[in-house]
Symmetry: C2
Subunit: 216 residues, 2 copies
Amino acid sequence: MTPKDDETGEPAQPGRKRDPSRDASILEATLEVLAEVGAAGLTMDLVATRAGAGKATIYRRWTSKTQLVIDAVAHMKRNQVDLEHLPDTGTLRGDLLGLFKPQSIEEGERRLRIMTGLASLLSQEQALAEAANAAVVQPWAEAHLALMRRAVERGEISASADIGTLSLVIPSMAAYRTLVQRKPFDLPFLVSMVDGVIVPALRHPPSDGPRDSTAT
Amino acid sequence: MTPKDDETGEPAQPGRKRDPSRDASILEATLEVLAEVGAAGLTMDLVATRAGAGKATIYRRWTSKTQLVIDAVAHMKRNQVDLEHLPDTGTLRGDLLGLFKPQSIEEGERRLRIMTGLASLLSQEQALAEAANAAVVQPWAEAHLALMRRAVERGEISASADIGTLSLVIPSMAAYRTLVQRKPFDLPFLVSMVDGVIVPALRHPPSDGPRDSTAT
DNA sequence: AAGTTCCGATACTGCACAGTCTCGTTTTCA
DNA sequence: TGAAAACGAGACTGTGCAGTATCGGAACTT
């Protein structure tokens, strides 16, 4: 349910075509404004000005401010961690730390800043909370899960480890840290999480035998 | 900086005294409204009606809606986990699970619901983010830290474990889980966190020798 | 060329709500 | 007992903003 759908069955009308490039401009302007002033301070005039668009153009494509914001958040899902090109250093520790690319981190912090701005609407819009989680934390957790699965396959860690739960730990804590605590997601934090929590927990799984995770 | 201070030097004026019990009624009404409709939907009329108070009474005590909300959040700090009466089952696992009291959990979820409602203002008001963290997650993390320290003292876990970081894991993840993911903080989740993450990590500390946590 | 739909820009409308003011009543001190 | 201040209730005001309507101009179809 991205932008407002144009009429589906078209009997070939005359008139100017809708410029598809405006969609992206508007969505990106929305994210910028969101990151700068938060959802509470976001106004349609601000978005329109930032996008160099008229308000009518926005309302021709989206039915409401809420819908626009939801779509903008969903739009973030692109440029995400590439699950096809994960780091491969030979150890899980190296792989996890290898996800910390300055560029990737900068983008990640931007996402979290946007989520901070969003938070107002989270409480009212279930769809928005889902979109935010799917765009920011979910992909990151999937990357961690993939790295952990590989570590299990090569025998580095036990198959009985609760990697379903463990893969959520760092992304969730990073989100909370940025969202509420306002502390940077930096390398020292990542290292203390990897070395103090994840790697120790994986090296010493709870008990042998299959485990089910209820945290997924 | 709780309610608006009355005049300090008083030459013994006539007139009715300000009723101190109204402060608490108004703060609690604010928290109720916050939990129900979120900060975006919170209006002063709603708070006044819920508190059975006139708006003038509120504005006689607080300068603005923002100040009222900040004070209401700080007000939550009371009735917190009692650090003097922590569970003592003999094992860290038992102690951590012992914090899960239906009543305490109900209250904890209420706090998180309030924080969800708050989130809108988090991005704009640094003071509010700090108050929310101090009222909801901080006390919980302190309880965990105390339990972990005790486990170290009785030799159950190694002194080299990064308990500063580990004590933040469950409170932060619970907050994120409730705030964004909208999943209940229930016993299965707690068990998977304790058995899948915390206890394994503590039983197998990263390395021997002192560690410093950068996550505090 | 004519007609239609797009565009950015901007004026306009309607509403929701923060904050103030008023009123009739109650409490306290002199 | 009377002036002063606080109380609940609610009327009132001003503003900010979502959403709409209108403009002149540009692009596309026939």
